[in-house]
């Protein structure tokens, strides 16, 4: 049927006039009616048809010459080849760049990063150079502290024993807390002292397993590069410190913070008010970081231990008995030193009470959740000294991760709770109540938040003992 239609309409196209007309009008109502004709006379379409036919004839007749031209054309790359070539180029360029830039050496990475960090600020400073003039030389009482800091740092850097280096780092920390006292920052001084103590304990827990001495290893050239980068960093910091301190143009924001601390934050310790109220979000983020870091530490230190314990358990014939890991003598009750044990029994609760006092008083006096938590952690450190990790576990009652999680949840919950009442996040609720024994006191939701911080910090310290504490069956993989 179609073939017949083609034949008939080809010879007599005017038969389809009405069909074509309707089709055109449906697309464009304003079009003039069309008319199909077999012969339209001599016009441009006819000429073009003629040209096509003629060129086709010529190509067909001159086949051999045409073939030669076409074969020459195949030398020109087609799209696919160009695409593949580009892919290959990108691949090898990136590999070569990676090989050059990412050479896998940590010192080179950190060196490049630190050198950049030293040079860029200097360039920025130099592009808009204004020397504000030298500040005062310094207070008399700062000098011994500065000397102690510098000497401790140099000793920590040059000494060849790991333990001594860690102890010198601790010495620098105590010098820092002295500086904080001079600068009128009792909260910082308290925190620094407790942190430094705990850091030293954790250092000792880890370093006792590592060889005591560093081996001498690096070549003089490498050392020269290191010294150059460090000197550059030191110079940048010095210039930055001098210039920035002389360049203040606006009054410090803390003036307003000081004014609004008591009316808005209901706290007399401005630093604590900043931490739990004005910059509470910051604190919330920080305890999250603490949580993540200590989970990471436990995971890193304990991975494989459970598997090893299970293997040992199976070897011992299964059952639910806890396997007795090969412990060091101090967890054995017989070998406890009675004097230490008894003193710790007493001191433990005193220190815990002290830490709670710091927490509750912290809003109005030096103290707060951070230092309170750290002090409670130190109480557990004492327990550790007396009886090892098992003693800590027995007295902590909860597992470290439970404490940690409860702290973060409490802080986050306190931060979010005002949303329910239609307030903004971290809005502090405050109520002044009169208690029978204590007298008039203010109850603030900031205290709950601070308690969350306290729990988190305790959790972090407990996690550190969990990570590096004793009961190690030696795991080798």
């Amino acid at each position: 049927v179609l073939a017949v239609g083609t034949l008939v309409l080809g010879v007599a196209p005017q038969l389809a006039d009405r069909l074509a007309d309707a089709a055109v009008r449906s697309l464009d109502p304003t079009a003039t009616s069309v008319h199909l004709e077999l012969w339209h006379g001599l016009n441009a379409p006819l000429a073009l048809s003629a040209v096509t036919i003629t060129v086709g004839l010529i190509l067909a007749l001159g086949d051999r010459a045409v073939q030669r031209v076409v074969s020459a054309g195949s030398g020109v790359p087609d799209g696919a080849a160009i695409y593949l070539g580009m892919l290959r180029g990108v691949g090898s360029t990136s590999r070569r760049t990676t090989g050059l830039v990412q050479n896998g050496s940590l010192p080179i990475y950190s060196g490049v990063i630190l050198a950049t960090a030293a040079v860029l600020p200097l360039v920025a400073l130099a592009s808009d150079w204004r020397w504000p003039g030298w500040p005062r030389f310094g207070e008399k009482e700062d000098v011994p502290i500065a000397l102690a800091l510098v000497l401790a740092a140099l000793a920590a850097a040059t000494i060849r024993r790991r333990f001594s280096a860690a102890l010198f780092l601790g010495a620098a920390g105590y010098a820092m807390s002295a500086l904080f006292v001079l600068y009128g920052a009792p909260d910082l001084a308290l925190t620094q002292v407790t942190v430094e103590t705990l850091t030293t304990v954790v250092f000792v827990l880890v370093l006792r397993r590592l060889p005591d001495r560093f081996e001498r290893q690096s070549s003089p050239q490498r050392r020269a590069v290191r010294v150059a980068v460090s000197a550059l960093i030191g110079a940048t910091v010095f210039v930055f410190a001098i210039v920035s301190s002389g360049s203040r143009t606006a009054p410090p924001v803390s003036d307003e913070i000081i004014q609004r601390s008591v009316p808005d934050g209901h706290g007399r310790n401005i630093v604590n008010v900043i931490l739990v109220d004005f910059r509470g979000f910051d604190t919330l983020g920080e305890i999250t970081v603490l949580t993540v870091a200590s989970i990471g530490a436990v995971a890193l230190a304990r991975v494989g231990l459970r598997a090893a314990a299970e293997r040992a358990q199976q070897a011992a014939g299964g059952g639910r008995t806890r396997i007795r890991a090969k412990r060091q003598g101090d967890t054995d009750p017989v070998q406890k030193i009675v004097f230490v044990d008894v003193s710790v029994q007493v001191i433990f609760y005193v220190v815990l009470m002290m830490s709670l006092w710091l927490l509750f008083a912290g809003h109005n006096q030096p103290g707060g959740g951070f230092v309170g938590g750290l002090l409670a952690g130190s109480a557990f450190a004492l327990r550790y000294i007396a009886g090892g990790i098992h003693e800590v576990r027995r007295h902590a009652r909860f597992r470290p991760w439970t404490v940690l999680g409860a702290g973060v949840l409490l802080a986050a919950g306190t931060a979010l709770a005002p949303l329910l009442a239609g307030d903004s996040v971290l809005e502090v609720a405050y109520k002044s109540v009169t208690l029978p024994a204590v007298g008039k006191m203010g109850l603030s939701s900031a205290l709950l938040f601070d308690f969350g911080v306290y729990l988190t910090v305790v959790g972090v310290v407990l996690m550190a003992f969990e990570a590096f504490g004793d009961d190690t069956t030696e795991v080798t993989e």
Binding site: V150, A153, L154, G184, S230, I233, G234, F238, I242
Partner: protein, 131 residues
């Protein structure tokens, strides 16, 4: 800020950097600790010096509380970071009996491969090399 303390901060930064640029993890950790001390000196000296910022009578003559709050967070964070790094060192000791940070094996392999490719560059590469 005084010249003495600016110099102290600078030296702490320099010594910390020197230690961080080494391969032994325990040295890197100590370097990080010194660096933090330096940063805290910078922070605390950027504010003014004065009485502890605890409101009793009036609000004059206080030291600047804001840098103190910042430094306090920094101190505690450093404790957590130190713990994490020590765990790394401990892990490294368990696996290799050392706390040295070796070169990354994968990165070294890539570097070698690209060096080899530089020599073999003139030859037309075959399809099999693309992966």
């Amino acid at each position: 800020m005084t010249v003495v303390l600016a110099a102290t901060a600078a030296i702490l930064f320099a010594v910390g950097t020197y230690l961080i640029l080494q391969r032994k993890l325990s040295r890197i950790i100590i370097g990080l600790g010194l660096l933090t001390h330096g940063a805290n000196v910078l922070l605390i000296t950027s504010g003014r010096r004065g009485d502890p910022p605890i409101v009793r009578n009036g609000t004059e003559g206080f030291s600047d509380p804001l840098p103190q709050a910042l430094a306090l967070t920094a101190i505690v964070i450093t404790f957590a970071v130190t713990t994490l790094l020590l765990a790394l060192a401990y892990r490294s000791w368990l696996l290799t009996r050392d706390d040295e940070v070796e070169d990354d094996v994968g990165d070294r392999a890539i570097a070698r491969e690209s060096a080899a490719e530089d020599f073999a560059d003139d030859e037309p590469s075959t399809e099999g090399t693309e992966r």
